[in-house]
Structure formats: structure tokens, C-alpha cells
């Protein structure tokens, strides 16, 4: 593997989050769902994770920070902000990081806000929990109103006193983003933040996240099933399939460098503007669920280039945490 040459001891200095050979398994039964995933998220960058349903993209990302109730990390190393979160089978120091250094935007804005609590209070509470500023103080209140204005809520003073049900889905998602930003986090995790919203609102919310990330030098992990959305919004994309890390590539590089056959096939599936029906190629078969392990490529059964080795060999891992990686056993999409 050429990538092994890049492996360095310790953490590259510009990474906010480093994930090394991480495997995630279910607490009950211990089945390994995602295995051998390595990548680095740089400070201030937008990092996309794409996959179909059951690929393990949400399960994996939430498990990294112990946010998933039914999984545990079973192997690997996780480093966040130069602190080790997980090593030698032990989890460390999560308490003061979650909700302070790491913000979270869940999928459904209709169920993530407390319906019986005024919007303002939900933000001041978050500020209090992060920094101890008394929630009823003038300072805390002003900060919350400023945050509401920052995420584009019209009349933030009025919104402060309103309840979540008085807002549309898009506006609610903005409030959730305001709560996530209230901690002044270094990393924001957005788990399909727009799937519950329509096309217009989706564009506005993603634009808001991208803009805030650039302005605040905030790292973002954006999880989505929409490859085209990620292509237009983020710096690097990691592609997961059946719990295997298939591909990592830089979006700016697209078109100049080869892709993993699965990523390539995904792009061919998307009905974008200039395509005719014959340009769209569907991938035969059904996606396999997560938990494929590391023996053989999970995509082999649907891959156009499949050879015998694809089903038997051990999948390459991104041990060097390179920005450009392809797990293809035939070497497709590997940069030379």
C-alpha cells in the first residue's frame, strides 16, 4: 500500500478529530456493525459522510461520541482536539466535551426541541450549562437573542419569547443550530439536518451551516444520503457502505482523479440537470446492511468490475488517515 508511507506517529497538528481503525459494535450481542474506519477532520473544514440507509453512517458518527444508546466502540483510537477520547478499549473525558466543544444538530427539528419551553429559555439553558452564565441574566439573554439573529430568525426579540410550535420546520432547525452554536463548539455534527425539510428550506439550512462554519472556523461533520448536496457543500467526503469505509476524496478534486467504483456508481444514479435517462445508470441489487466486516468488499455483488479477489481478500484500511483513499481491492480510485 502506498498510503502506508504517509502514516505518522501521533496526530497531525491540524486535525480536530482523528479516527483510527475504529470499529463499532452493538452492546447487545456484540455484533460488529462498522469496522476499520480511519479518517481525520481538519480544523475549520466541512467533512461529509455519505451512505445509503443501513450503511452505518449515522450509527458510526454518533457512536464516536457515545451518542448512540445501543452501541459501543470495540476497537481503535479516537482523538478530539488533542485529547484522547478512546484508546485501549476505554472511553475517556466525554462529559465536558459533549455540548461544549462539540455541538449536535439532529435530523428532525420537529422532535428535537422541547415543545413546552420557550425558545429563549432553551438557548439560555444551553449557555448556562456550557459556561455557567445565569440563564436569567441580561448577558445570557442578549447572547441568546444575538444567536437567534445570527442563524437568520426574523425578529429575534419576539422569537425569544415564543414556543417551538410557532415556527416552521426550517425555522426550528435554525433554532436547533443556534443552540448548537451557543456553546461556541469546535466541532459540529449535523446528522441529516435537512431530510425532514423541503428543497427550498434544505438549501437555506445547508447554506447557513456552511456559512457559519467558514465564518467561525468551525469544523463540521455533515451526514447525508445526498451525494450531490455534499459535493456542493463540503471539503472532503467519506463514503460508507455496509459498515465499510469505501472512499475518501476531496470535492475540489472531483473529475480530475478516479473514484472508488461505488462512489462512481452513486454519482451515475443521480438525476442531475444535464442528464438524460440513458446517462443514469442504476446499481443492480440491494444495499447490504451494516456489519459486513473486513473480509471482502461489501459492494462486490453489485460492482461492475468485480473479480474473485473482491470477495476473499482483506479490505485495505486508511491507516495513514489520508485525505484521499479508496478501499477498492482492484486499486480503482487509488491515487498514484
Amino acid at each position: 500500500m502506498t498510503l502506508l508511507a504517509k502514516d505518522t506517529i501521533g496526530v497531525p497538528p491540524d486535525d480536530i478529530l482523528t479516527v483510527k481503525n475504529v470499529a463499532v459494535s452493538l452492546t447487545k450481542g456484540g455484533r460488529t456493525m462498522v469496522s476499520g474506519v480511519s479518517f481525520g477532520v481538519r480544523r475549520g473544514e466541512l467533512f461529509g459522510i455519505v451512505g445509503e440507509s443501513g450503511s452505518g453512517k449515522t450509527l458510526f458518527t454518533l457512536s464516536l461520541f457515545g451518542l448512540h444508546g445501543e452501541t459501543e466502540i470495540s476497537a481503535g483510537e479516537i482523538t478530539f482536539d488533542d485529547k484522547t477520547l478512546f484508546e485501549d478499549g476505554k472511553r475517556r473525558r466525554l462529559g465536558r466535551i459533549l455540548g461544549c466543544r462539540i455541538g449536535f444538530i439532529p435530523q428532525d427539528p420537529y422532535s428535537s426541541l422541547n415543545p413546552s419551553m420557550r425558545v429563549g429559555r432553551q438557548i439560555t439553558e444551553a449557555i448556562y450549562l456550557a459556561r455557567g452564565t445565569p440563564p436569567n441574566s441580561r448577558q445570557c439573554r442578549d447572547e441568546a437573542v444575538a444567536l437567534l439573529a445570527e442563524v437568520g430568525i426574523p425578529e429575534p426579540e419576539t422569537a425569544f419569547r415564543q414556543y417551538p410550535d410557532q415556527f416552521s420546520g426550517g425555522m426550528r432547525q435554525r433554532i436547533v443550530i443556534a443552540i448548537a452554536l451557543s456553546q461556541d463548539p469546535a466541532l459540529l455534527i449535523a446528522d441529516e439536518p435537512t431530510t425532514a425539510l423541503d428543497a427550498f428550506t434544505q438549501r437555506r439550512i445547508i447554506d447557513l451551516i456552511v456559512e457559519r462554519s467558514r465564518r467561525r472556523n468551525l469544523s463540521v461533520i455533515l451526514i447525508s444520503h445526498n451525494l450531490e448536496l455534499l459535493r456542493q457543500s463540503v471539503d472532503h467526503i467519506a463514503v460508507l457502505y455496509s459498515g465499510q469505509l469505501m472512499n475518501i476524496f476531496e470535492t475540489a478534486d472531483l473529475g480530475r482523479n478516479p473514484l472508488h467504483p461505488y462512489t462512481e456508481a452513486l454519482f451515475e444514479c443521480i438525476p442531475s440537470v444535464n442528464k438524460t435517462l440513458t446517462d443514469i445508470r442504476s446499481i443492480p441489487g440491494e444495499p447490504a446492511g451494516a456489519g459486513f466486516g473486513l473480509t471482502g468488499c461489501a459492494f462486490a455483488d453489485r460492482c461492475a468490475y468485480v473479480q474473485d479477489i473482491c470477495r476473499t481478500a482483506r479490505l485495505p484500511e486508511n491507516t495513514g488517515r489520508a485525505d484521499s483513499f479508496s478501499a477498492c481491492l482492484l486499486g480503482k480510485g487509488v491515487r498514484t
Binding site: 427550498f200 434544505q202 443521480i270 442531475s272 445508470r281
Partner: protein, 259 residues
């Protein structure tokens, strides 16, 4: 019937809903909808959520009533249909719903789900003939004959949507209404089902109302499109006209917002 007469002609269709206090301050409904569907064409209804697309689909399939206006189907006012004609209408117009997890009876086998319409609308077929038809339909939508004795929960979303399409096609409807049939499917599966629709349209000369919020999908399948906003049709025309050269700012914004 000649091609000059539309199969579906909606004139001034209006639907009002009783406003549900406390739940929502948006008044859903349709206002003054005029829409034609001619034999052999695919008509797209596009708009964001809450624009009334699905309500209109339910009116066309007569799953819901309307408050004002006239709905002519094959030249007949649907409000004056006799009992036997009502039955014929139900086999003439079929629908494929958005969510294939909610639209198939979990306790029925696939052969019964697909064959039920045949048993009602084509009662002259005996059990063997019916089974044969169901088998060939299942094959046409790209599933194996071994599916017939299985239950919906054994299938993935894409396979279920194929089953729903086979069910709708079973009675050889004149008009197929598809209410966002792709939006709950994964990208790779979406492309498969999209290709299936394209093939059915080509081979069977289907007349179809295709509802979508994905303009790129509409561009590929539809001959004509109607753009909806707040229960009204704000723009319509051939797909190429409207989508390449939109006259309304809203339509242009909608195209612009798409990924």
C-alpha cells in the same frame, strides 16, 4: 375517444379544509385548479411540501372529495357516475403511494396484494389465469416469481415500491397516479425505480400523473408539468419550456434551490 378530448379535465377545483385550531395556522387547500391530462402523456405536478400536490392526487383518484368545480373523467362528470361506473372508475385510475412501508398490507401475501384488484375488477378470470397474470406482472417490475408467497416485511423499500407498481398495473388502468414514488427510496434504488417507470411509460404507453418535488426526475419523465404553490397552479407548460425557461420567479427559485 379522440386525443383532442382530455382524459382528465379539472375545472375550477377548490378544496377547503376545516382549520384545525391549535395545531396549525396554515390553511391547506386547493384554489381554482384547472388541469388537463391527455391520453398517453405524463403530467408532472411539482411544488414544495404543503403546496397541495398530494391533495390534488387524491382528488384525481377520488380518494378525497372537492368543494367546488367540475372533474370530468373521459368526458363524464365524476359526480354523476352510477354505481357500476364508480367501480369501473376505480379500475381505470390507480395510484402508487409515496411510502412503500405503509401502503402494503403487512398480513397479505404478495400474490394476494397484487391479485386483489384482478379478483374484483376482472372477476371473469379464474384462479389459474389470475395467478399467471400476477406472476408476469411481478416479473415485469423486475422481481422473481419466488416472491409471490412471501409477505411485505421480507422486502426492502425498493422491492416494495415495485410490488406497489405491479399492484397498480394489474388492472391495466387508463391513468396511473404516482405520489412521490421515489422520495422514500435510497439513491441507488431510486435510479432503478426511475428506470422501471421510464420503461413502463415507453412499453405500455402509460398515461400518468407524476408528483414530485425533484425537478430533475420530472425533467426526465414528464411531457408537461404544472408548478404548484400554496394550493394554486402558478405555471404550466411542456416540461422543456417550464423547466428550461421558467416564467415565474418562484419556479426559477425552485429549480435554483435543487441540489
Amino acid at each position: 375517444m379522440t386525443d383532442t378530448q382530455p382524459m382528465v379535465a379539472l375545472r375550477g377545483i377548490t378544496k377547503t379544509f376545516a382549520k384545525r385550531a391549535l395545531v396549525s395556522n396554515r390553511a391547506f387547500g386547493l384554489r381554482d385548479i384547472n388541469l388537463d391530462v391527455y391520453r398517453g402523456e405524463v403530467v408532472g405536478l411539482l411544488g414544495e411540501s404543503g403546496s397541495g400536490k398530494s391533495t390534488l392526487a387524491n382528488i384525481i383518484t377520488r380518494l378525497t372529495s372537492f368543494s367546488q368545480g367540475t372533474y370530468m373523467f373521459k368526458g363524464r362528470d365524476v359526480r354523476t357516475l352510477q354505481r357500476s361506473e364508480q367501480l369501473a372508475f376505480k379500475s381505470d385510475v390507480q395510484i402508487v403511494f409515496q411510502d412503500p412501508y405503509g401502503s402494503l398490507n403487512p398480513r397479505a401475501r404478495i400474490c394476494n396484494i397484487v391479485g386483489e384488484g384482478l379478483a374484483i375488477h376482472q372477476s371473469h378470470l379464474d384462479a389459474t389465469a389470475r395467478k399467471e397474470r400476477v406472476g408476469s406482472l411481478i416479473q415485469e417490475v423486475g422481481l422473481g416469481a419466488d416472491c409471490l408467497d412471501r409477505y411485505p416485511h421480507e422486502f426492502s423499500g425498493g422491492q416494495r415500491q415495485r410490488i406497489a407498481i405491479a399492484r397498480a398495473m394489474a388492472v391495466e388502468p387508463d391513468l396511473l397516479v404516482c405520489d412521490e414514488p421515489l422520495s422514500s427510496l435510497d439513491v441507488s434504488i431510486q435510479a432503478q425505480v426511475l428506470k422501471l417507470f421510464a420503461r413502463l411509460i415507453r412499453e405500455r404507453d402509460l398515461t400518468m400523473v407524476f408528483i414530485s418535488h425533484d425537478i430533475n426526475v420530472a425533467r426526465l419523465l414528464c411531457d408537461r408539468v404544472y408548478i404548484m404553490l400554496d394550493g394554486r397552479i402558478i405555471e404550466h407548460g411542456t416540461a422543456a419550456e417550464v423547466l428550461n425557461n421558467p416564467q415565474q420567479k418562484y419556479t426559477a427559485d425552485l429549480i435554483e434551490a435543487l441540489y
